[in-house]
C-alpha cells in the first residue's frame, strides 16, 4: 500500500508541472497548447546539452528553462496570437503542427536515442519499507517547491491578482487598468519555464528521448482536463488521479482471480487507463471535476 502511494506520487510528479503549465496558460489564452509538452522536451535537451558543454547542472537547468520561457513567448507572439484570431481550434491544430516541427528539430539536433543528465546514481534506500532513490526525493521535492512558489505568486502577490483578474474577466480587468498584454506575456513565459523544469526533472529521474513529448501528451492533457483546464491547481489533483489509475492497473495482481500466482495486466495498458479516464470524464463531466470559471478574484 505504501509502495502504491509512493509510486502514484512520483508518477504524479512526472505529470504535474507540465499539466499545471498547460492549465495556467489556458486560463488566459483559451486554447489547449499541445506544443507545451514539447517545450518540456526542449528544456530537458537544452539543459543536457549545456551540461555537456561543461555548465554545472543547476545553472544549466535554470538557463534552459529561462530560454524555453523566451521561446514560448516568441511562438505565442508569432504563431498563436495570429491563429487565435481565426479560431481556437485552428490554434490547436497549429500547436500540433509546431510539435511536429519541433520533434523534427530534435531528431536532427540530438538523434533518436534517449539521453539523461550525467548525475550520480545511487541504489535506492528503504523508507517505510518502500524503495526511494535520492533523485526521486530530490526531484519530487523540487517539483513541490516549484508548485508552491507558483501558488504563492498566483495567490499572494499583486501580479498574481492581476493574472487571476485577466483570466476571469479580461475586459473588466483591462478597464480597471490591468495591462492584459503584459500579464498574458508573463504567464506564457512562466508556462514555458515550468514546462521546461518539468522536462528537466524527468531527465534527472530517468531518460528523455525525442518521443517523450508525444508519449506525455495525452496523460498531461488528461490531468489538466480532469482538474478543469484553466484551473492550475486542479491539474495537480488531476495528475494524482491519472497516476493512481495508471499505477493501479499495473500493480494489481489478477493471479488469485484466475487461479494462478501472478497475473498482471501488461504495463503497456497503463496509458490506455489514463486516456480512458479522460474520455469518461469528458463524457460525464465535460468541464472537468473542478470548474475554473468561478474562481474568486
Amino acid at each position: 500500500m505504501v509502495q502504491f502511494i509512493f509510486d502514484t506520487l512520483f508518477r504524479a510528479a512526472d505529470l504535474a508541472l507540465i499539466a499545471v503549465a498547460l492549465s495556467a496558460v489556458y486560463s488566459l489564452i483559451r486554447f489547449p497548447n499541445v506544443a507545451l509538452v514539447q517545450y518540456a522536451v526542449v528544456g530537458a535537451f537544452v539543459g543536457m546539452a549545456l551540461q555537456q558543454q561543461g555548465v554545472p547542472i543547476v545553472p544549466a537547468v535554470l538557463l534552459a528553462s529561462l530560454l524555453v520561457g523566451g521561446i514560448a513567448q516568441v511562438f505565442n507572439a508569432v504563431i498563436f496570437q495570429r491563429l487565435l484570431r481565426l479560431d481556437p481550434a485552428i490554434a490547436l491544430i497549429g500547436s500540433l503542427a509546431l510539435s511536429m516541427v519541433l520533434s523534427a528539430g530534435f531528431l536532427l539536433g540530438f538523434g533518436p536515442a534517449a539521453q539523461r543528465f550525467s548525475v550520480q546514481v545511487a541504489p535506492a534506500t528503504r523508507v517505510f519499507g518502500v524503495r526511494v532513490t535520492e533523485m526521486q526525493v530530490l526531484t519530487g521535492g523540487l517539483t513541490v517547491a516549484i508548485l508552491i512558489a507558483f501558488a504563492l505568486l498566483l495567490f499572494r502577490t499583486p501580479l498574481g491578482r492581476e493574472m487571476r483578474a485577466v483570466s476571469t474577466n479580461p475586459v473588466l480587468a483591462a478597464a480597471t487598468g490591468v495591462n492584459t498584454a503584459r500579464v498574458t506575456g508573463l504567464v506564457v513565459f512562466l508556462s514555458g519555464v515550468i514546462a521546461a523544469l518539468g522536462g528537466a526533472m524527468l531527465a534527472l529521474r530517468g531518460s528523455v528521448s525525442i518521443d517523450m513529448g508525444t508519449n506525455m501528451l495525452l496523460p498531461v492533457f488528461a490531468a489538466a482536463i480532469l482538474g478543469g483546464l484553466g484551473n492550475a491547481f486542479g491539474a495537480v489533483f488531476g495528475a494524482i488521479v491519472i497516476a493512481a489509475a495508471e499505477t493501479l492497473i499495473t500493480n494489481l495482481n489478477f493471479g488469485p482471480i484466475v487461479g494462478q500466482d501472478h497475473v498482471f495486466l501488461p504495463a503497456s495498458y497503463a496509458p490506455a487507463a489514463s486516456f480512458a479516464l479522460l474520455v469518461a470524464v469528458l463524457l460525464f463531466r465535460p468541464r472537468g471535476i473542478f470548474v475554473s470559471e468561478v474562481t474568486r478574484v
Binding site: F31, I79, L92, L98, M100, L108, T214
Partner: protein
C-alpha cells in the same frame, strides 16, 4: 520507374479518400477530428482480422463497415456535450486507445507482429496488377468524391455548414444538430474505413504502426494545404503531400544527406506545411466556394 510512379499515385488515391473523409467532418461540419486514423484502422483491421481467422476475404469490408459505423456513432456521441477543442483531444485519445489495444491484444490482433500475408488485390493480373489496383483506387476515389459533393450541396449539406458557422441559428431553424453530426460521422467513418480496407490489401500487412497519431496529422496537412471545405482541393492536397513524402528519399540520394534527414524532413513537411498555410494562407490553395450551388 513507372512502377514507382504507379505506387505513389495509388497511395495518393487512398489518402485522397481519407482527406475527403476528414474534409466532410472538419471542413464542412467543423468537427475537429484528431482521431481519424482510428476510422481508417477500422478498415485496416477489418480486413486484417478476417484474414487472420481464415474467413472469406469478402467479409473484410463487411466487418470494416460494422466497426466504422460503431466508431462514428461513438465519436459523435462524445461530441454532444463537448466544445470543439475538448472533443479534438477526446478523439485523439480514442485513437491512441485503439492503437494500444491493437498492440497488446495479441490473441485477437496478432499484437505488435501484426497480421501479414493478406491477399494482394489483382495479384493474378501480373504484370498489370499495379495498374489494375490504381484503376480501382481511382474509381473509388471518384465515387467518394461524388458522394461528398452531392452531400455538401444538398439541403443536408447546408445544415452541416450551419452547424460549423452558427450552431445556435441551426438549432433555431429546426436542424437536428445531433442527428446531423451522427450522420456525418458515420458517413465519414465508412469512407475512411473503405480506404483502410484498400490499403490493407495493397500493403498486404496490417499492424499497429498503421495507427500512429502522426498519420492523422499528415491527413490534416493534406486538407489544409488543399483548401479546407473544398473537395477537389483536398484531393489535390493529398496528391501534393504524398508526392513530396515519396520524393524525400530522392532528395537525400541526390544531395548525399544522412538518412536521419528522411524521417526529419517528413515530420518537418507535415508540420511545416500546416503551420505555413495556417499563418500565410489559411484558406489553402483552393478556397471554399462561398455561396456554392445547392440542389434542394
Amino acid at each position: 520507374m513507372s512502377d514507382f510512379l504507379i505506387h505513389v499515385i495509388s497511395v495518393s488515391c487512398i489518402y485522397g479518400i481519407l482527406a475527403l473523409s476528414l474534409n466532410l467532418q472538419a471542413g464542412f461540419t467543423g468537427l475537429m477530428n484528431f482521431g481519424l486514423i482510428a476510422m481508417f484502422g477500422c478498415g485496416v483491421y477489418g480486413a486484417g482480422l478476417v484474414h487472420r481467422f481464415g474467413l472469406p476475404v469478402a467479409l473484410g469490408p463487411a466487418l470494416a463497415l460494422i466497426l466504422a459505423v460503431l466508431m462514428g456513432l461513438f465519436l459523435a456521441r462524445l461530441g454532444r456535450r463537448l466544445s470543439t477543442d475538448y472533443w479534438g483531444i477526446a478523439t485523439l485519445s480514442i485513437a491512441e486507445i485503439a492503437r494500444i489495444f491493437a498492440t497488446n491484444l495479441e490473441p485477437l490482433t496478432g499484437g505488435a507482429q501484426g497480421i501479414s500475408g493478406l491477399p494482394l488485390l489483382f495479384s493474378g493480373l501480373r504484370p498489370w496488377d499495379g495498374a489494375a489496383r490504381l484503376a480501382l483506387f481511382a474509381v473509388i476515389l471518384g465515387v467518394a468524391w461524388l458522394i461528398c459533393e452531392r452531400l455538401v450541396r444538398s439541403n443536408f449539406g447546408l445544415g452541416m455548414k450551419l452547424i460549423r458557422e452558427e450552431p445556435q441559428l441551426a438549432r433555431a431553424l429546426g436542424y437536428d444538430i445531433d442527428r446531423i453530426r451522427s450522420t456525418v460521422m458515420v458517413i465519414a467513418s465508412v469512407i475512411a474505413a473503405v480506404a483502410g480496407v484498400l490499403y490493407a490489401h495493397y500493403l498486404s500487412f496490417v499492424g499497429p504502426e498503421l495507427l500512429l497519431a502522426p498519420e492523422t496529422f499528415l491527413i490534416w496537412a493534406m486538407v489544409i494545404i488543399g483548401g479546407i471545405a473544398n473537395n477537389r482541393g483536398v484531393i489535390a492536397g493529398a496528391f501534393a503531400m504524398q508526392f513530396m513524402m515519396a520524393y524525400v528519399p530522392f532528395v537525400k540520394d541526390y544531395f548525399a544527406l544522412p538518412s536521419d534527414f528522411v524521417a526529419a524532413a517528413r515530420l518537418m513537411l507535415s508540420g511545416g506545411v500546416i503551420l505555413g498555410f495556417l499563418l500565410l494562407r489559411p484558406q489553402g490553395i483552393f478556397p471554399e466556394r462561398v455561396g456554392g450551388r445547392h440542389d434542394h
